[in-house]
Symmetry: C2
Subunit: 386 residues, 2 copies
């Protein structure tokens, strides 16, 4: 298939059927192509209401995924939990290209290899060490200070796969819990005193590379509640974060849309913290905030189309995550004021069941000024119940 | 169902499965609701690739449509070809509300009643008369001048249902062809010397009314090739057209999104030409051109949600219709330049088969200046083959 035109029967397959695939699928439809989706969940997932082409199977089964991939022209992912080795087999056996490529996945699926790869490319990362024993834990704590983080090298999601080592006792507990006791690779990572958590999205394919503004991810009680773009930081830090994100993307030959999360340290350093080979929560604001959204550039990049402009449409965009407030069949209530507000945009993910804390929806408000827009967006979403 | 919140299982049904339903469905998905579609076409239609809930049937069969409507919470339409009488029966027998309402449809489905309704509301329309005989044709031509238009009172689409009466012979031919000979109501309509063709979209429901800028629809060889918004006309004409559009909407108690097409005459008058109870080609530019698109306000209005701002995002938006250039399985080629252009947005409708002249896609370019943006959009789309 030539990759510079759009066939009506081109089918883009998503491994994963949640909100990230859903918002990408909406952009695929805008280009007039078809969407197929593969899910391992028993309940109906958001994308399954958006296509007649739904497949069920296991993310551990090459056969299941090959059967799916054979129905698609291109396959992409919305998470990083399928091993690169399986992805490689799926690509080879189905003959269907997968973007981001299994080779890129191989460089980031293991946090040890990820950090080594980025370090080798000259990208500053948070201090880390592979820990294998009680002695290693003590040595790391003594060198970089207590508390520190323990992370499973196999990664995690929203804090799973992490533990805090406050002292030797909790360090040992965390090590065992994360699988160190079974021989899994466990990383110790220093807590870096930071003033901001930042994120930058990069899209890249054979036609070129585009980088989004550096945004701030705002946490409350260790939960990402909001994103402000551009981040309220010096322009030199903005530029530095964007430059490092592009460098990281090139280091892994990333094709698709990736997000890179950084710390801005108290001393003014930008350290790469995590990478995600997919659309990212920190980039949801780009749907209305930028000329081309992360989801559109996701679709463009995996299809081989030229990438779109990442310019902002207004000086500031603020995205508020709307987490489940009840355990109940999903309904989104008390939304009139937020919907009626100029430049306020509500996105609901179509999940059937709401759970307290589950990502159910988000709200983006565009404005002229970061602080005002943030406060307004917060006030407008405070009463929403999901 | 309370109409101020969104249920994940709310199902919006579309009677019709073409590009207008498709672009509306994309907005329904954004609100996390489900989409069902009813089509009378044998081939797969654009929306059928976007939902597992596809129904086939006849637009003449109340039973078919009732069975469909019973699976939906709200039903809407993408065309005006189902008789209001059938729609009323479908609504009554299914218990599912239809927006726009059958009562609104009843006021515009017949061009004679439509014109009388709008005239009675004080809205200037093009001079017309019901013609029943050769004598009526002669009298009309002599009073309003030859040539004039003949229109089937049952309406039409893109010029179907119309005929030009150049002289008595062609008048009689047109009268017969449009069904006058079988007793159908035929309208004679004067050609009005106009400088511009204009259009205004209005969205309205129980929460309020919003009106879009007045845009210009640009024709080449009687085919609408482009839309420029705002129309390059005096502000007083802009305001007048918007005011008349709201008045027309109120005259028929329209709920949903409607488009009203006007002539700006040589003498500076604004005359209402046609109305459409649905998203309209003239409003495609609103997807990127306005804070809230016509499709989003379509969905909001039929769900009973507050309507969104119609402010423009940039001074000017130009939309180019991309018509089929070949008779072939659809593919959209030579799009790289248009995709790579800042603020250029390509929409492909997902039709499987391309035909010369068929509406297959559109391209919107935002800019600062009407003429420059129009020329640039034209140049960028000239080479696209579909």
């Amino acid at each position: 298939m030539p990759r510079t035109l759009i066939h009506a029967t081109t089918k883009l397959g998503f491994l994963g059927a949640g909100q990230l695939a859903r918002m990408s699928a909406l952009q695929a439809f805008r280009f007039g192509i078809q969407v197929a989706v593969f899910s391992d969940r028993p309940e109906d997932e958001p994308v399954q209401f958006m296509t007649p082409f739904s497949y069920s199977g296991s993310f551990d089964s090459v056969d299941d995924m090959v059967a799916f991939a054979k129905t698609c022209d291109v396959v992409t992912l919305e998470n990083e939990f399928i091993s690169s080795d399986l992805l490689k087999q799926v690509q080879e056996q189905s003959g269907t290209p997968i973007f981001p490529s299994p080779a890129s996945f191989a460089l980031i699926e293991n946090k040890l290899i990820e950090k080594e790869t980025f370090e080798a490319a000259g990208i500053p990362v948070t201090p880390y060490k592979l820990v294998k024993s009680e002695e290693d834990l003590i040595t790391f704590g003594d060198e970089y200070g207590w508390p520190f983080m323990l992370k499973s090298s196999k990664g995690g999601y929203d804090g799973y796969g992490n533990a805090i080592a406050k002292d030797l006792e909790t360090a040992k507990e965390g090590f065992d819990k994360l699988g160190g006791i079974k021989g899994h690779d466990i990383l110790a990572e220093a807590f870096v005193p930071f003033t901001k958590e930042l994120a930058v999205q990069v899209a890249r394919n054979e036609t070129g590379t585009v980088v989004y503004p550096c945004c701030e991810t705002v946490q409350e009680n260790h939960i990402n509640v909001a994103v402000v773009s551009p981040a309220p930081i010096d322009e030199k830090h903005q530029k530095r974060a964007q430059k490092l994100a592009i460098k990281a993307m090139e280091a892994i030959d990333g094709k698709g849309i990736f997000a890179f999360e950084f710390f801005l340290t108290d001393s003014g350093e930008i350290l790469l913290n995590e990478s995600a080979p997919r659309p990212h929560n920190s980039g949801h604001y780009t749907i209305e905030g930028c000329v081309t959204s992360q989801f559109e550039n996701h679709v463009r990049s995996v299809l081989g189309l030229p990438l779109g402009s990442t310019q902002m449409n207004k000086p500031v965009a603020v995205m508020m995550n709307l987490l489940g407030t009840h355990n109940r069949p999903a309904k989104t209530d008390h939304i009139s004021e937020s919907l009626a507000t100029e430049n306020g945009h509500l996105h609901v993910y179509g999940k059937i069941q709401s759970k307290v804390g589950r990502k159910m929806a988000h709200y983006t408000l565009l404005g002229e000024n970061g602080e005002d827009t943030f406060n307004k967006a917060k006030a407008l979403t405070k009463g929403i119940e999901i």
